[in-house]
């Protein structure tokens, strides 16, 4: 479960996020939508613990900055950045060590196979294409078997097979009771995934829809209704 309560963030005089509240229960896929500059990235970076903020964020009811909470939390940033001098496999081994995961070899093999990285496992971080880096980033996030996962524009740069694989993984995570939050502009890509939608603009959450509330309304229609046509 991911809970955000009265999250505010200022950059100098600019109020980037204004008293945001949101909660996503276990086994639910949330999507965070909004036009450019809406404050989505700030919310995401705050959840990931990369920014100082006012308010509170909890992961499985634990304050997000605690080591215990971080053990349950995985993050896939919009622009993946890997270590130049670690191979694909070494990245995964490193992540397992950082999260205290033991007997990880079998699961690493499984992830490498699933995301077509097995033959690239000895390639160094700086030898990979952007799409490959994104796949490694996703594998790193999955390797820790998280309870809460945050994906920021996860489909960008992925090939169609990897997109399909990622969608399947997200649905599997949901079935396993994992909380998923996806921030994206690619509405088409998350159509069949979402359970709850948060639409942000100008630092605030304008509205929240559950799939039941939306009934059979198209996701794009809902988005443009709320934002008044801003992309």
């Amino acid at each position: 479960m991911l809970t955000i309560h009265q999250l505010s963030k200022k950059f100098g005089k600019l109020l980037a996020v204004d008293r945001v509240d949101l909660s996503i229960p276990d086994g639910t896929v949330g999507i965070l939508l909004g036009p450019n500059g809406a404050g989505k990235s700030t919310v995401i970076k705050s959840i990931a613990g990369l920014l100082r903020y006012n308010g509170s964020i909890t992961i499985q009811n634990l304050p997000s900055r605690t080591v215990e909470a971080k053990k349950l939390f995985a993050y896939v940033p919009e622009i993946p950045a890997l270590y130049d001098n670690l191979t694909v496999r070494e990245h995964l081994t490193f992540i397992c060590k950082a999260y205290g995961i033991k007997k990880e070899e079998e699961y690493i093999e499984y992830l490498l196979e699933r995301f077509d990285l097995f033959d690239k496992q000895d390639k160094l971080g700086n030898e990979l294409s952007k799409g490959m880096m994104q796949k490694v980033s996703i594998c790193c996030a999955l390797a820790i078997k998280p309870k809460v996962i945050l994906l920021d524009e996860p489909m960008v740069g992925l090939d169609p097979k990897a997109i399909k694989e990622l969608k399947d993984v997200i649905l599997e995570l949901k079935e396993d009771g994992v909380t998923v939050l996806i921030s994206t502009h690619m509405l088409e890509m998350v159509k069949e995934l979402w359970d709850v939608m948060f639409v942000m603009n100008k630092g605030k959450i304008l509205t929240t829809y559950t799939k039941e509330q939306a009934k059979h309304q198209d996701i794009e229609e809902l988005f443009f209704q709320v934002t008044g046509g801003e992309e």
Binding site: L51, R65, P80, A81, D84, N85, T87, E90, A98, L124
Partner: protein, 521 residues
């Protein structure tokens, strides 16, 4: 900590493997070793010449380093700068359950290999230059690596990772440390004049007992004095205080709470560092966290199409800048011009004065030949290739402003010299022409290096090629001058030199445009 150990060890191992595979590494290693051997002998003689080749001299050196380096480092820590985090650290390490304090230590330890190498290098330096017994140098190495690093890491955690002190307080700490450095410099300058403008003040100043009483920084100096010069009541007490303060600071740092609130600042620094690294790789001058130049609104009327559009776009870019096409480099040129003029005023062989300004220009061009040119930036722009015009025209219109700038810089270098040595107007024009040609060679050589080497040797390799190319251009001019001087006369030598430079420029420009055409394909 296990994850950090793994990251550190594996990255180091892979980096080493990667370097060994590259043949260019061997060349760099040979060059580096040759450079250090050369430096070793140069400085050994210098140490002996200025009569500091004794343990006292070594203590002076370490004291000066302690006075500037430690407060300097602490200032950067207080500003939450100075530790290099990469974007991969933010992505993978900051969000992980690894303790934020361990992450700080990891960033600090990235430089530990350099610190160990420098520490080890000081052992023979201490023994052979300063005549210190080997065991004392080994002891120094251990103290510097264990005690100094423990102290600095502790202070780094306390300042960088602090979540109780406000930003304002940290700023004040930084300012106090800066004031300390400024005060040391002011005292140094004052004593320099007191001692009849000689460096004789350094010894008495650095061995001043009051200096050893300055907390931590002075105490570390006392520790060196105890180690190399023997015990006195003062240095024993201060060394004791140094060790006690190290232990206390270590315990404080260990117990201090740190949840990672520094990540935001570290992330900003990582972004700035990455940007500077990329710019540096391209050969641009890049300062980490340097303020971005403010651009004003401007417009330009495009009086032409195709390749000419590049020229007008550049004009528009320059118009947005505060000082149009003028910049810091103009001041550098003026400074060099004035300095050369000052040195030329007592020149014994005035007939060679003609060559002074041209020589200064050539020197400037050579020194700065490694830096990226405006043309190098144009080469990164896909539109430079896509614009439907001939390569020669593109080359010309993309570099014409640079030639105008070269004329200005050339005048700034030549005019002060011309006034002092009373050069005639023709000589001034020819000297400026020589400088413009050399600058043009530099521009066109960047195309040649890009087209010939591509990505085979990296930026440094291309910079070397440009420098070698510039050396050949300059040497050809000198050779022509010597030849003409021998068989015709001094004026002909000057004219011959300029003519050769003009011809070389024309050849390189044509060659560059042909290669540029190939690059387009």
């Amino acid at each position: 900590m296990e994850a950090i150990k793994y990251l550190y060890k594996t990255s180091f191992k892979n980096q080493l493997k990667k370097s060994v595979k590259k043949p260019v590494t061997v060349i760099y290693c040979i060059l580096a070793i040759a450079y250090f051997v050369w430096m070793y002998f140069i400085f050994r003689d210098m140490v002996s010449d200025i009569k500091i080749d004794s343990p006292e001299g070594l203590v002076m050196l370490f004291s000066a380093m302690a006075l500037f380096f430690l407060p300097g480092n602490l200032i950067t820590f207080a500003k939450r700068k100075g530790l290099i985090f990469r974007k991969s650290d933010i992505h993978l390490l900051f969000v992980s359950p690894v303790s934020p304090k361990s992450i700080l230590v990891y960033a600090y330890l990235r430089n530990i290999i350099l610190s160990v190498v420098v520490g080890l290098a000081f052992i023979p330096i201490g023994v052979f230059w300063f005549h210190v017994p080997v065991y004392k140098m080994i002891l120094y190495f251990l103290v510097s690596q264990v005690v100094e690093n423990t102290l600095e890491i502790s202070l780094m955690i306390i300042l960088y990772g602090n979540e109780r002190l406000s930003k304002k307080t940290l700023k004040i700490i930084g300012k106090v440390l800066l004031l300390f450095i400024v005060a040391i410099v002011i005292i140094g300058v004052y004593l320099f004049f007191e001692y009849n403008k000689s460096l004789a003040f350094v010894g008495p100043f650095l061995s001043n007992p009051y200096l050893q009483m300055v907390p931590i920084i002075g105490w570390s100096i006392a520790c060196y004095r105890l180690l190399f010069l023997g015990a006195t009541t003062l240095n024993v007490i201060c060394t004791g205080l140094y060790l006690i303060s190290t232990i206390i600071l270590f315990i404080t740092a260990y117990r201090m709470s740190c949840t990672g609130l520094y990540y935001q600042d570290a992330m900003k620094f990582a972004d700035d560092y990455e940007e500077a690294r990329i710019r540096g790789k391209k050969g641009e001058v890049a300062v980490v966290g340097g303020k971005k130049a403010k651009l004003k609104a401007a417009n330009v009327e495009y009086k032409g199409y195709y390749a000419k559009a590049i020229f007008y776009r550049q004009i528009l870019e320059y118009k947005k800048r505060r000082f149009f096409i003028f910049g810091f480099y103009n001041l550098v040129c003026l400074g060099i011009g004035i300095a050369i003029a000052f040195l030329s005023k007592d020149m014994e062989v005035r007939e060679y004065a003609l060559f002074v300004a041209a020589g200064a220009g050539a020197y400037c061009t050579f020194i700065f030949s490694g830096f990226a040119t405006k043309w190098a930036k144009e080469l990164e722009n896909p539109y430079t290739y896509l614009i439907p015009d001939s390569p020669l025209k593109k080359l010309w219109y993309a570099t014409v402003i640079e030639h105008i700038r070269s004329v200005i810089d050339g005048l700034l270098i030549v005019l002060p010299v011309a006034i002092v040595v009373r050069m005639n107007i023709v000589a001034v024009i020819l000297s400026v022409l020589c400088y413009v040609c050399l600058q043009a060679n530099k521009l066109y050589l960047s195309v040649l290096s890009e087209a010939l080497l591509g990505n085979t040797v990296g930026t440094v390799g291309k910079q070397w090629l440009r420098m070698i190319g510039m050396s050949i251009c300059i040497a050809a001019g000198i050779f022509a001058a010597v030849l003409f001087n021998k068989y015709v006369g001094i004026e002909a030598a000057f004219l011959g030199m300029i003519m050769i430079e003009v011809v070389i420029t024309a050849i390189i420009a044509v060659g560059a445009s042909i290669l540029f055409k190939k690059m387009e394909m």
